[in-house]
């Protein structure tokens, strides 16, 4: 699941998980930047605003490597459906928007498992900002790109930074064949499209299994 803050992807992910669980599919959720290992460093760095684009990138890659080995590969091996709230594309988009070399960050994450399906919730920057402000979300330093010094105003900085991130995502859609969901539409409509995308994939796998058994 990919998309900028305020794209509503976390809501969509929760609804999808409910549906999959109800249908009897074991589900495992994993979230971007959540491993205990690098939390200390990320926290120190963020508190002191001491992270550069490179160390920001590398810390997130470390977090990802840790989660890949403990929270992604084992549930996959156990036959579960892993739902990742953000995946490597988040790094490609954010790090490139911060000026890190695009080729370098792609090669950096080449140890990752390629997802069976990657869905990008595309939302215009205005919709995203409106949603975040309506929820009275306090824009965080790095999420708003305040480290880049483009603007001292958090909302303005968020617009500039996430605008660049959106451009990077557009590039990724073609490069990695991401499935795009229009995240401006209603929650139920998005969920309908989302479930359709996922069910297509699950059906294909079911067919494969049947074929294997008959062989």
């Amino acid at each position: 699941m990919e998309g900028i803050d305020g794209s509503g992807k976390t809501t969509q992910l929760g609804l999808l998980a409910k549906w999959l669980s109800a249908a009897g599919h074991p589900v495992f959720m994993t979230e971007w930047n959540s491993s205990a290992l690098v939390k200390a460093a990320t926290k120190t760095g963020k508190k002191k605003n001491a992270l550069t684009p490179m160390t920001f990138s590398l810390l997130h890659a470390t977090d990802f490597a840790d989660r890949l080995l403990y929270n992604i590969i084992p549930p996959l091996k156990a036959g579960m459906i892993v739902l990742a709230d953000r995946y490597t594309y988040t790094a490609f988009a954010r790090d490139s928007a911060r000026g890190v070399d695009r080729r370098w960050v792609r090669e950096l994450y080449s140890f990752a498992v390629k997802p069976d399906i990657a869905v990008y919730f595309r939302v215009p920057i205005d919709v995203s900002v409106d949603r975040l402000l309506a929820r009275r979300v306090k824009l965080k330093f790095y999420e708003a790109g305040l480290d880049m010094g483009w603007s001292t105003n958090a909302v303005e900085s968020f617009r500039i930074f996430q605008g660049k991130v959106l451009d990077e995502y557009d590039r990724l859609v073609d490069e990695f064949d991401l499935s795009v969901v229009n995240a401006s539409s209603s929650i139920t409509e998005q969920q309908r499209v989302f479930r359709k995308l996922v069910s297509q994939h699950l059906e294909i796998e079911n067919v494969d299994e049947r074929l294997d058994e008959s062989a």
Binding site: L37, V38, A40, A41, T44, G45, A50, L51, T52, P53, M54, T55, L58, L59, A61, T62, A65, D66, L68, L69, R98, G99, V100, D101, R102, R103, W104, R106, E107, L108, S110, F111, E175
Partner: protein, 259 residues
């Protein structure tokens, strides 16, 4: 190395020891230009127990007497990462990938905040260990060679790399004499066996092999570390003096040197 399309980013990147001295190894850090800086980067590499820090202390003294500004940097000393690395080591929660990535993060922090600013300000940067330490440790742990070279493609190729080489037997004795074996330096994470001495021996031997294999790739100047401290120091000074003489380091105030 796959190269994806990219817009305004440099296209002449090469990976794996092809970085010219003083330049980025590969893609580098696009937002940090390192054109025409006056400083010099000199790395002293080698395993534990080869006397790197003694040599660096003596080199610093010698360079400063001549009027050169010197900055020392080490491996895993960054303010950002030190607590995390210590914690991870203590709890043995590192796997080989996170191990490599934590060290790379630490290096990136030092490169951007210490090394590059010092080079731009005209210092001679003496690095106690450099990326080769990471490449050797990763190599022993079976991390993909092309991947880790690409990872460290943001690093700067030193102007000079001295490799203090030692044989396996002398190395083991020196480490035992100095600070003894520890979990990581014995490669116990590799599960080579319960015998810590045997694990240490196999691990250090593999490390030496990795260093040897990098000597040509990265143009190491190899020095025999079994010789006396003064003999090694003389050799280092001779080579560094020759290098500084033919490079355009802002001349040290030799005129005021008390002769």
């Amino acid at each position: 190395m796959s190269t994806n399309d990219s817009t305004s980013q440099p296209e002449d990147a090469e990976v794996g020891g092809n970085g010219r001295p003083g330049r980025y190894y590969s893609y580098g850090i696009p937002y940090l230009s390192i054109d025409d800086y006056p400083g010099k980067l000199i790395a002293i590499e080698g395993t534990d127990g080869v006397g790197r820090s003694t040599q660096i202390r003596l080199l610093r003294e010698w360079l400063e007497v001549q009027g050169y500004g010197v900055v020392e940097t080490g491996w895993t000393r960054s303010e950002l990462m030190q607590p995390t690395i210590d914690l991870a080591k203590a709890s043995n929660t590192l796997n080989k990938l996170t191990f490599v990535l934590l060290y790379a993060t630490d290096f990136a922090d030092r490169l951007e905040k210490e090394i590059i600013p010092a080079l731009k300000a005209g210092f001679i940067v003496l690095s106690d260990r450099y990326i080769f330490t990471a490449l050797a440790r990763a190599g022993v742990r079976g991390v993909d060679r092309a991947w880790i070279r690409s990872l460290y493609g943001f690093g700067i190729a030193p102007h000079l790399v001295f490799y203090l080489r030692i044989d396996e037997k002398s190395l083991i004795r020196r480490v035992l004499q100095s600070r003894g074996m520890d979990y990581w330096e014995s490669g116990m994470d590799l599960k080579l066996g319960d015998d810590i001495y045997e694990s240490f021996r196999v691990y250090q031997k593999a490390l030496l092999k990795e260093y040897t294999s990098m000597a040509d790739e990265f143009g190491f100047r190899v020095l025999d570390a079994r010789r006396k401290v003064e003999v090694i120091q003389d050799e280092l000074r001779r080579q560094i003096a020759a290098f500084l003489a033919e490079s355009d380091v802002p001349a040290a105030p030799m005129a005021v040197r008390a002769e």
